[in-house]
Amino acid sequence: MKRFITTRLGYSVLSLFLLSLTIFFFVRVTGDPATLLVEPGASPADMAAIRQQFGLDRPLWVQYGVFMASLAHGDLGQSFYYRTPVLELYLSRLPNSLLLAVVAMGLSLLIGIPSGILASVRVGRFWDSAGKMFALLGLSLPSFWVGLVLILVFSVYLGWLPSSGSGTPLHLIMPAFALGWYFAAAHMRLTRSSMLEVLGSEYVKLARLKGLPESLVIAKHAFKNALIPVLTLAGINLVIMVNVAVVVEVVFAWPGIGRLLYEGISFRDFPVVQGVVLMGGAMIVSVNFLVDVLYAVIDPRIRLES
């Protein structure tokens, strides 16, 4: 167990290292980072000053060392636009993103799990086809377009919901739905295949043999076990949601991390863009590590395999 965790930890640290390397070198290979670091319209003298100030005239490996050292101190640089440290900005926006992601996740599970169960109980019949169509639609509609259509219907025509901003629970409904829709499809697919696997197992057969009504077999025996992989996926997806909500947050002017990233792009605020991407990658690497370890704790076969 200890060895398993150490290996996984090693991989995760390696991933983080490669991540920083990727981001560091992409910025420098694709052009002069000084043009990204100065505010638009800076003079050549300013550029030279910036180059010296940020050490961009030094060799690459020295620059990388400096970059890593400041990262290790939790320093993601300073935002040009807000004139505050990027990390501070990021942390101030994070609760909003988390709130949106949690509500969206709730919605997606509420839609995905029941429809997945229904599809698995009625394999190859109408509800299965309907569910498959729904999953395909979920994967085929861009989430921002779902958001725009929701605004058109519920804000413009019906006038029920506010089209943008935050503050009340009403503001949450549409962005959460637009974000959760895509994930609902993924959760439905997994629930279906996981249920099918469980329904074919020996103990479900036994439960049926001893005469339990089918509804009880599904609700008490199959459902509970089929839920494990779905909930694991939901845990990983929650973190992914926080990081892919950019377009939904932009459409609904939701003040989360995605919107911060968008502002970073529109104001050419490069430290913000870099900081958000770095934090996103780090979050996902950490969650993957946690899930690996949790799985190894639950299932001995996994830790013995490595």
Binding site: K132, L136, S140, P142, F144, W145, S193, I265, G280, V285
Partner: protein, 299 residues
């Protein structure tokens, strides 16, 4: 046997529809294939089909609704946008942008991913370790965020988008292809090729590649939808195809301002185009997956 046939003939109407649409696995998706062919046709002959110039409008004809609404005219069938440009013409030329970006990006990502997947799987050792570590790291980054980051560095242009999408999505291929190569290289014909004295390069090119090309094609079809949605998203955010170009994502971004005053045609039509194209690609990919590669059914 006869009973099932009877049951099937009773519900003919909806079943026939779902068969043509390819919703039931195993049926050739006739309608999606026709839609994709149609979009390809429109994209190729955009110059002949479009009634107006997609990039030049007339400011006297701004915000015309589609022809069936009051104020609309048959001159602009699907209405005009904020610069008086014909929506239908822009949709037609937008098909060209989506097709070109979609296919080139999928092929670009496919070539990198397949090549690295074969190298990684067949050579093994440190080559495998390096490629797989990089793949894992890149897979860990949310694709959209990574694409936005790259787009913010290199700046917007159509060909930059192709490169960004290729660089973002090659990892999906590399993972799957590597797995297949790992099992292929234990097979008899590969061992015989080694015994016969083939070089590693020849084995990879002549014996491994033809056997994984099916999977690469299936993956490519399934990736087409993802790539088109990502392109539209990047364009919507202003880091994709630059504005005068009539891309569907750009049209949605332009149409957003008119949304609150009910200019629905600027939002609904481009979105429907994206949906039709992506849905068709996904249904076709699903069918190909079942048809060409039984191993990928669980993907």
């Amino acid at each position: 046997m006869t009973i099932t046939t009877q049951v099937e003939t009773i519900g003919l109407e909806p079943r026939a529809a779902s068969r043509l649409a390819g919703i039931r696995s195993g049926d050739f998706p006739v309608i999606p294939a026709l839609i994709l062919l149609g979009i390809a046709f429109v994209a190729i002959f955009a110059n002949l089909l479009a009634p107006h110039n997609p990039e030049i409008g007339s400011l006297t004809a701004r915000f015309r609704p589609p022809f069936w609404q009051t104020g609309g005219s048959t001159k602009y069938l699907l209405g005009t946008d904020q610069l008086g440009r014909d929506v239908l013409s822009r949709l037609i030329f937008g098909a060209r942008v989506s097709m070109v970006v979609g296919f080139t990006a999928v092929i670009f990502a496919g070539v990198i991913g397949t090549a690295l997947g074969i190298l990684s799987g067949y050579l093994g050792g440190w080559v495998d370790q390096v490629i797989m570590r990089v793949t894992d790291t890149w897979l860990a980054l949310p694709a959209l965020t990574f694409a936005i980051f790259l787009a913010a560095i290199v700046g917007p242009s159509m060909w930059n988008i192709v490169i960004i999408l290729g660089v973002t999505y090659w990892t999906r291929y590399a993972r799957v292809i590597r797995g297949e190569v790992l099992s292929l290289k234990e097979r008899e014909f590969v061992r015989l090729a080694i015994v016969a004295g083939c070089s590693k390069w020849t084995i990879m090119r002549r014996h491994i590649l033809p056997n994984i090309i099916n999977s690469a094609i299936v993956l490519g079809t399934l990736m087409l939808g993802v790539v088109i949605i990502t392109e539209a998203t990047l364009s919507f955010l202003g880091v994709g195809v630059p504005p005068p170009e009539p891309a569907w994502g750009v049209m949605l971004s332009d149409g957003k301002q008119g949304l609150m005053v009910g200019r629905w045609w600027l939002t609904i039509f481009p979105g429907c185009c994206i949906m039709l194209m992506v849905l068709s690609a996904n249904l076709l990919g699903d069918w190909l997956r079942v048809k060409l590669d039984p191993q990928l059914r669980q993907l």
